[in-house]
């Protein structure tokens, strides 16, 4: 009971902090925080997939990127008065490719941003998990998917914008994107989305389904002999976390205003895993906070120590990997446990005192 109450308190503090943060931050900082919140959404999905189910995906950048591109296509069309994006005109294309025409509809674009990543994840997941490919082998496959996707996006320059990606958006639903009012609304939409995603994920871990996820992590084969076929479960959670990443992509592109193949490549994909690791992959809140803290540290360090910041960041990763296997959330838990033990000891002492007297 007390534990439940405490969890609620942590979540309360976290969201209270996020709700009031814009009042204390400059526009620039608030913009950065909004970006980090998108990363937080990805980290929550990674926590479910890796922390709870034990599946390490090193390719979530792709799902993030696909979501972002879907939204970016809509924004780009809205920013192209001639009906054809500028980079296509430079390439001598006079008619909008069929695949782009569908993205004139914002509802379609947002739905696709969530569905395309999850369907692709479901397909990759089904083929690999059904054939009982797991562990490192799955991680390697997920990396290969990143390489393939990035190469395809760069190669199909006429329809993807190539290495420079999609940018120069002006309005969303006819409202200017750079307005501070729009920015504030988008920020709170992001906070609310993060809240929904975290509530859904946290709730999911408390159900019987959540216990099956942990059982898959701790003994997939064992679970088979209890009458479960883990394939469906793994495909589902992989697709769900891909959908989260896609949704994060939508919010990212709206607030950051650009998406390029580089942003969905190997390095961002690995970084996503690090956010969850640093925050604590066994905790939904830990993973989300990890994404925000890691990226804040990254931007603070790169501004203050432009020459050494990568070394600091590397040291931070090393410390976490070596000394905090459960991340920052694990550290909080540890400290709390130590205090709890002390309290208990004191209680015993007092009991002893009263016995003597």
């Amino acid at each position: 009971m007390i534990k439940k109450y405490r969890q609620g308190a942590y979540y309360g503090i976290f969201f209270l902090f996020l709700s009031v943060a814009p009042f204390f931050l400059t526009d620039f900082r608030a913009g950065l925080l909004a970006k980090f919140l998108c990363y937080g959404i990805i980290a929550v999905g990674i926590s479910l997939l890796w922390g709870y189910t034990g599946i390490l995906s090193l390719g979530h950048g792709v799902f993030f990127g696909l979501g972002a591109y879907c939204m970016a296509m809509y924004l780009k069309l809205e920013a192209s008065p001639s009906g054809i994006p500028d980079f296509m005109e430079w390439n001598g294309i006079t008619e909008l490719p069929f695949i782009w025409t569908m993205f004139k509809n914002p509802v379609f674009a947002i739905a696709a941003a969530v569905l395309v990543p999850s369907l692709i994840a479901a397909f990759i997941g089904y083929v690999t998990f059904k054939n009982r490919i797991k562990g490192v082998f799955f991680s390697i496959i997920s990396q290969a998917v990143v390489v393939v996707t990035v190469t395809l996006f760069i190669g199909a320059q006429q329809i993807t914008g190539g290495t420079s990606g999609l940018t120069n958006f002006f309005t969303v639903f006819q409202v200017p994107l750079t307005d501070s009012g729009t920015k504030t609304i988008l920020y709170y939409v992001t906070v609310f989305t993060l809240f929904l995603i975290m509530a859904l994920s946290f709730g999911l871990t408390k159900t019987r389904f959540g216990k099956i996820l942990i059982a898959i992590r701790d003994g997939e084969n064992r679970l088979r002999f209890l009458g479960y076929n883990p394939t469906g479960y793994k495909v589902f959670i992989y697709a769900l976390s891909a959908a989260f990443a896609g949704l994060a992509g939508v919010l990212f592109v709206l607030q950051v205003g650009i998406i390029s193949p580089e942003m969905m490549g190997i390095i961002p994909s690995v970084e996503m895993v690090l956010w969850a690791a640093i925050g604590g992959r066994f905790s939904i809140l830990g993973a989300a906070a990890g994404a925000i803290l890691t990226n804040s540290a990254k931007s603070y360090l790169s501004e203050s120590y432009p020459e050494f910041w990568t070394i600091f960041l590397g040291a931070l990763f090393l410390v976490v990997v070596l000394y905090l296997p459960n991340g920052l959330a694990g550290l909080v838990e540890k400290v709390k446990l130590r205090f709890a033990k002390k309290e208990k000891k004191e209680e015993v002492k007092h009991a002893g005192d009263s016995l003597v007297s």
Binding site: K211, D218, F225, N229, Y233
Partner: protein, 247 residues
């Protein structure tokens, strides 16, 4: 008595090593059948074949007179009511005993059924009463990693029971247990045999003597002899390959 399981000419070939060389064996409904034999006789391999952990090279495993187990994937064999307990306790250590039983419980185990599953009062009572039976009610909300070895074994037996099996396969259920724990496990097993058939691999002869209804001796991948413990003990051949050794 009717056969619940019939193995016919079961062979397993581990790339050259013939672990099972044509095993013919019947398990009768309601009995506690013990499999004994020296190390490497193929006892555990036979259990592995029945639950599909190991694929057989030749032969058939017929369950309930009509279902060919060798053609089903592991989880479907479980759905038919054949449940296996492994030698090392393989419970889920990051879940509590209650949660371990919750997921093991007989229920629809597909993705969507589980996503929508809610703990009903009936289910909770079922789990609680089983927790009492296996003596883990007081620790039901601790993480399973903190249980003692014996408690882990019982939890696992509990996890097999709550699946309401028709045939329970136990691999050395009392290995590493203290005397008191052994007695308790034996009693639990006798209680289980009221509701299902039990096939046990065990090395401890006192335990076999006390709780078996029938014994099968295996040697070098074949069935050597079968009968009651008394008959087995008087069998010269068995004495030579197995019992004689321990004096």
């Amino acid at each position: 008595m009717q056969e619940i399981l019939s193995c016919r000419n079961v062979m397993v070939d581990f790339s050259g090593f013939k672990a099972l060389q044509g095993v013919n064996l019947d398990v009768k409904k309601g009995e506690i059948l013990f499999l004994i034999g020296p190390n490497g006789a193929g006892k555990t391999t036979l259990l592995d074949v029945i639950c599909k952990k190991t694929k057989l090279t030749a032969g058939t495993v017929l369950f309930d007179g009509k279902i060919s187990l060798e053609k089903l994937p592991e989880y479907k064999i479980v759905h038919e009511g054949v449940v296996r307990k492994f030698q090392a306790p393989s419970i889920f250590i990051h879940l509590t005993p209650f949660e371990n039983l919750e997921i093991a419980m007989k229920q629809k185990k597909g993705l969507f059924s589980i996503l929508l599953a809610k703990m009903s009062r009936l289910e909770k009572e079922k789990i609680d009463s089983l927790l009492n039976k296996i003596g883990l009610f007081d620790v039901r909300n601790e993480t399973a990693s903190s249980l003692s070895h014996g408690q882990k074994q019982w939890l696992e037996i509990g996890m097999q029971l709550i699946q309401e099996p028709k045939l329970l396969l136990l691999d050395e259920p009392i290995a590493g247990m203290s005397g008191l724990e052994r007695t308790k496990t034996g009693e639990l097993m006798q209680e289980i045999s009221q509701i299902c058939t039990v096939l046990v691999v065990e090395h401890d002869m006192d335990f076999v003597r006390k709780y078996s209804t029938r014994v099968i001796v295996m040697h070098e991948g074949k069935v050597l002899s079968e009968g009651t413990m008394q008959e087995i003990q008087e069998n010269e051949e068995v004495k030579n390959v197995y019992l004689g050794r321990s004096g």
